[in-house]
Amino acid sequence: MEILSQILQVGFFAALLRIATPLIFGTIGELYAERAGVLNLGIEGIMMFSAMAGFSGAYFTHSLWFGVLVAVLAGMLGGLLMAVLCVSLGLSQHVSGIGTTLLFSGLSFFLYRLIFGQPSTIPVIEPFRTVNIPWLAKIPIIGPVLFDQYALVYLAFLIVPVTSWILYHTPWGLNLRTVGENPQAANSAGVSVAATRYQALLIAGMFMGLGGAFLSMAQYNAFTFGVISGRGWISIALVVFGQWSPYKSMAGALLFAFIDALQLRLQASNMIHIPYQVFLMMPFVLTILAMALVSRNARAPAALLRPFRKEER
């Protein structure tokens, strides 16, 4: 009990939201791609590439928001490559995705080296500061947690309801879901499967780009090789956890972040003496457990992984 009261403070919940943010961007991005029937395994490389591109953009222009724009464009470039490979050429989505991740992570370091050379100290930027929303930030407990965060954190939590609304309440969302479930039917109804999938992958790239930008420009102030560290892969798992629904995926990201923030505080408290590896495992183990219990009836979009060719049945 003493431990809990020490841990469950304002700082804990603020950390939870920060840890969840890149995962939410990645997860929502991946969700668009998968709902249209394309598994985007390029996510890890695309996030890395965007983190690099966004950081470089901000470094040279001294404008963080310009950096974010560059990151978004870089992410969309990754989405475009995936679209060319899996939609136009109809290739295996697994191979294209792994290829995209390898290409874009290799490219990130290669371009970083070309742009920055070999500096003796890592180049850094002045990162995003938290945006304190007047009045609301003064509310005890909830205020500092919810209303004193980075702008990109607010954005992450905003895109979840927006995505849900787009998917379930707009004609385009219906087209997207149909393309992911039954592309033949969508095609006969006059919906261009290829165009819809291109659009979905570009939007997916955009959000992955925001995730990368958050890590190199808000959560940290430099581009380094460990800056993504598997957060893209975690996002893919969280989409499954969330049964391809925006709100449930967000819940997955929050659960993962909750346990991660908790284990960091348990480690720091020095009160429970178990090997630290157990703490580090906690977010993964508990998320998998929750997934096994909650997502048993989850069903992937029916056309996921299946390239669509008009002339084939």
Partner: protein, 340 residues
């Protein structure tokens, strides 16, 4: 139908190309691509690194080798981000090309590096390693920088007001444990009431996670933190507490936050090894001793802004202990068990 097939095979070619270009770029050719053409010189040194040269550990080796190029007139080239699958091939390429000395870090590729070295007995291999050298040609070194880390711990012990100091480290492996333990031992020597807290992030490089781990410690009351990993200093700066850097002089990241920290200098090691190879008397040895303070292989980073801010009594205390270490009259205990 026919058209589809052509499209398909063309696509497979594109995918194969994509994967190989990705592997090529990821596979450590960046260093050699933008290297200027090598000048004719005496001995040729190559380095093979598992990570990009930004990795702090690798960077200290790289910097010392660049200095060797400048001051000893050796030829030097390197490959970075060489993953385990490519490590043997890249090592062999350099050995076949006639490089006399091949250096690198081999913690993740220990067995591979040792196996390759056996095939080229005339080439000197000197790798960062937690275990011993192997005849006839595999020498080892390591970051034996526990002495300046101990001195940093003494400063931390004096500067903490909450009597809680923290270490955010990668994982509990011997190289890292001996630094964490030395830091804490130094603090405890000067302040019996001090409590050390240890957090691990489970990977060697994940600055956003290290930053979160540091914030968690700071919120639990830690007010001086040893930044064994990147990301910690940023948290200390944001939360307005004090930090001790690691591996290189990192004061420029946050001059008001970073007091000082242990610095690893590979120059004495490199200089000595190059001398042996040049003279043709190289043998497999443990060069670890060249990273000790006495040899100049490690030291406490300059105080910069803190030169005027650190209390005179603390400065004098550290200077005295430093002299005792250099004189050989004080020995920092090496403890490689997981810190508690």
């Amino acid at each position: 139908m026919r058209r589809t097939q052509t499209k398909k095979s063309c696509g497979h070619w594109v995918a194969a190309w994509l994967v190989s270009v990705g592997l090529f770029l990821a596979g450590g050719l960046t260093g050699s691509l933008i290297q200027p053409a090598m000048a004719a010189g005496n001995i040729k040194i190559a380095a093979v690194f598992e990570t990009p040269i930004e990795e702090p550990w690798v960077n200290q080796i790289h910097v010392a080798l660049l200095k060797a190029k400048k001051e000893l007139g050796v030829e030097y080239t390197w490959s970075e981000s060489v993953k385990a699958a490519d490590f043997a091939r890249v090592m062999r390429e350099y050995a076949e090309k006639g490089y006399q000395l091949i250096m690198g870090d081999s913690f993740g590729t220990e067995k591979i590096a040792r196996r390759v070295a056996r095939d080229y007995p005339k080439t000197a291999f000197v790798f960062g390693s937690g275990i011993g050298p192997a005849e006839p040609n595999f020498g080892v070194f390591d970051n034996w920088i526990q002495e300046p880390t101990y001195l940093s711990g003494m400063i931390a012990g004096k500067m903490t007001k909450s009597n809680k100091i923290g270490v955010v480290a990668a994982m509990a492996i011997p190289e890292i444990n001996r630094l964490s333990n030395a830091f804490c031992a130094g603090a405890k020597e000067v302040n019996k009431a001090v409590k050390c807290q240890f957090s691990f992030i489970g990977s060697f490089f994940d600055p956003p996670k290290a930053k979160e781990a540091a914030i968690a410690q700071i919120e639990s009351g830690v007010d001086v933190i040893y930044a064994e990993r990147f990301g910690v200093i940023e948290a200390a700066k944001e939360k307005n507490i004090l930090a001790i850097s690691n591996m290189s002089d990192q004061s420029s990241l946050a001059p008001d936050t970073v007091i000082t920290g242990p610095v690893w200098d590979m120059w004495p090691t490199v200089k000595y090894v190059v001398g042996l190879v040049k003279a043709g008397v190289y043998t497999a040895q443990d060069f670890g001793g060249f990273s000790y303070m006495g040899k100049g292989g490690s030291y406490l980073a300059p105080l910069h802004k803190w030169d005027s801010k650190l209390p005179a009594a603390v400065k004098a205390m550290v200077a005295k202990r430093k002299q005792e270490i250099l004189d050989g009259t004080f020995r920092v205990d090496i403890s490689e068990s997981a810190p508690q």
